[in-house]
């Protein structure tokens, strides 16, 4: 009995403390430091070649590679680096939650005295100390796809995740005629890129489509299986559901599969981003109504260009946003696969 009393008392104490902390628990993400040097690349942008002054050694870090987007982005980086004759050390953190692993990888690249680090950050804030150490060691850091919240970054080549969410909302709102019920599959919890897309979507929905109700928001890995399961449950819970927002098209594929299984795909508007090869048949069939291309190949090539330009002694823009064209069943006819994806035979080595 004493054991039970002790245990209950301890739990009660912690609940009291936890409730107090919960009352003060809201924090918001800050924004990256502003810069007047912001460039947004146009759709169908052709990445130029840049001649390096010597054989630079670059370290390239990815948060995750087991997804079509990242394979395409890695192709952009590694192919461009190979074209320029650069020496590359590339590493993956193998998960968006492996922030410390990525920090350790940055430290190891500092040890290797690379000429530049090209970082796709696992975390906007969590990588800051390691990035600043690299900068202190005289190694310029460039970010691609996702950035780090520190002014020492020399140049960033990013996807405007807020704009992706907003674009999806504009399309969804118009497709639903300003009325309906929408569910959100918002990607990995606490991953800044997915949170910004969700944020952008919610902003436009609230501002322009007040009669569209967001009935549910779920988080999960952007693969196919988990979102399929989540969507099955959402379709049962919300029989009037006619729109699904997803942050990446792996999720959209799973959601579409679930909707098809219960014959609700015809009246369902599914929007997404990433524009992988896998999604093309679903777009052609009309299961996915809008897929926003994050231009991973362009992103990869441009960050290599920026690093080489900088190392050559040129001034580089602080922030470059890659194009984010939206693909529908109609516009798909004009897509040029070489521009958007790695060749099917290409393997990461």
């Amino acid at each position: 009995m004493n054991t039970h009393r002790t245990f209950v008392a301890a739990i009660a104490l912690v609940c009291a403390i936890g409730g107090w902390i919960l009352a003060d628990s809201h924090r918001v993400l800050g924004q990256a430091g502003g810069s007047s040097e912001i460039i947004t690349l146009p759709d169908n942008f052709n990445v130029p070649d840049v001649k390096p002054n010597r054989k630079y050694k670059i370290g390239v870090l990815f948060p995750f590679l087991a997804a079509p987007f990242w394979v395409n982005e890695a192709y952009g980086v590694l192919d461009q680096a190979q074209k320029f004759g650069l020496e590359v050390n590339w590493l993956s953190a193998d998960g968006y939650t492996n922030i410390d692993k990525q920090n350790s990888q940055i430290e190891d690249l500092i040890t290797l005295r690379v000429d530049a680090i090209l970082l796709a950050a696992t975390s906007f804030s969590g990588t800051v100390p390691a990035v600043e150490r690299a900068a202190s060691a005289g190694i310029p850091v460039f970010t691609h796809v996702t950035s780090s919240n520190t002014p020492v970054i020399k140049a960033a080549v990013l996807t405007d995740d807020l704009a992706i969410g907003r674009k999806q909302a504009e399309f969804m709102g118009a497709a639903l005629g300003g009325r309906g019920e929408v569910a959100m599959l918002s990607g990995p919890a606490a991953a800044e890129w997915s949170m910004k897309r969700a944020q952008g979507f919610k902003e436009i929905m609230a501002q322009k489509f007040p009669n569209i109700k967001i009935v549910a928001e779920r988080f999960g890995i952007p693969d196919r299986a988990d979102p399929q399961r989540l969507t099955q449950d959402l379709l049962v819970t919300f029989p009037q559901l006619n729109g699904i927002f997803t942050v990446a098209d792996g999720m959209a594929l799973g959601a579409a599969d679930a909707a098809r299984a219960v014959n609700r795909i015809e009246k369902m508007t599914i929007t997404t981003a990433s524009f992988s090869r896998e999604a093309v048949p679903y777009i052609q069939a009309g299961y996915i109504k809008l897929d926003i291309d994050e231009s991973p190949v362009i992103t990869g090539r441009m960050v290599v260009n920026r690093s080489v330009e900088f190392l050559n002694g040129q001034t580089v823009p602080k922030l470059t946003y890659v194009p984010i064209p939206g693909w529908t069943k109609e516009s798909l006819k004009t897509v040029d696969s070489a521009h958007h994806w790695a060749p099917e035979s290409w393997k990461i080595r």
């Binding site: 301890a10 924090r27 998960g95 500092i110 988080f219």
Partner: protein, 313 residues
């Protein structure tokens, strides 16, 4: 012939870890001149320190023939509470509340295992999932980066050239080693792990031992979480999601038996150091991340296999 070979392997299995570590150092020194620089060795110490603390925490329930799969959830929840409390009340107060999360979680684990007799696997998995959910709710799914100045120094600072986290890991090692080898409760931990029924018959208060083991594990995990939060300069609800598996790997490689009752804190520290060294080596040698997973998985399998061979011998 196979039997003879197995006998030789079993006989010298305790030398596997030091031999593997020496081999790694030798190969690296040969192929990567930057490995033996002070800068890199300090990096390895710092990088390994977090895993060492988590592994020492994991070791205690494993010695009792259990395990703690809630470590990832404890890390996330402690990280969030630490950052929130630190931003409002200062770093020491934040640290206190962060450790309190660990202690409470450990107590909950221990209660379920010791009193309710729930399987450690199930109990700690459930608690970990609950904690992860709570961390996401409290943080609203976002990192808490509004932390006081000096926060990051806990992980990035040095004293006499020794990274602070490494100093903390050594202190934890000394504490755990002394408690396990020089105190009565420590000996009880081994006794319960070796044979719980015999321990009960011997008059050992096994319930209190298990309760204490999981509580200590929770507190040490939370300590590691505080340092990890400082390393990423934020409270992060999903940082350290893989902590339990990595810690178990270090524990097993360090010679602690998954069947309880055998192992040392020094071995666990060496196991964590070896994993840190291996990761560093593979990065410096520019081995693909895909191949790294295979190498690390292979090392774990070899360690577990040797453990089984020792038991059979």
């Amino acid at each position: 012939m196979l039997t003879s070979a197995l006998k030789i392997v079993t006989r010298y299995s305790s030398m596997f870890l030091p031999a593997a570590a020496l081999l790694t150092v030798a190969v690296l020194a040969l192929f990567q001149p930057r490995f033996l620089t002070a800068e890199n060795l300090i990096n390895v110490l710092r990088q390994s320190a977090f895993l060492a603390i988590f592994a020492l925490a994991q070791m205690i329930p494993v010695l009792t023939r259990g395990l703690d799969l809630s470590q990832g959830g404890i890390v996330g929840a402690s990280s969030v509470v630490f950052a929130l409390a630190a931003s409002g009340l200062g770093i020491p107060a934040g640290g206190f509340f962060g450790l309190l999360v660990g202690a409470t979680s450990g107590l909950l684990n221990g209660y379920m295992v010791a009193i309710l007799r729930v399987s450690p696997f199930v109990a700690t998995l459930g608690v970990g999932s609950i904690l992860q959910g709570l961390a996401l709710i409290v943080s609203n799914g976002q990192p808490i980066f509004d932390v006081p100045s000096g926060f990051a120094a806990l992980a990035w600072g040095q004293v006499a050239g020794v990274p602070l986290p490494a100093g903390v890991a050594i202190a934890v090692l000394v504490l755990v080693h002394i408690v396990l080898t020089r105190t009565v409760p420590g000996r009880f931990v081994y006794a319960v792990g070796s044979n719980e029924a015999a321990a009960v018959l011997s008059g050992i208060p096994t319930r209190w031992v298990l309760l204490g083991a999981y509580t200590c594990s929770g507190i040490l995990t939370a300590l590691g979480a505080l340092l990890l939060s400082a390393r990423v300069n934020s409270g992060h609800p999903t940082v350290g999601a893989d902590t339990a598996l990595q810690a178990i790997a270090a524990v097993v490689i360090g010679g602690v038996s998954l069947f309880g009752g055998r192992g040392s804190a020094i071995g666990v520290m060496l196991g964590a150091l070896f994993l840190g060294l291996l990761g560093n080596a593979l990065n410096l040698l520019n081995v693909s991340s895909y191949v790294q997973q295979i190498v690390i998985g292979g090392a774990i399998i070899v360690a577990v296999a040797l453990d089984r061979l020792r038991i059979r011998a």
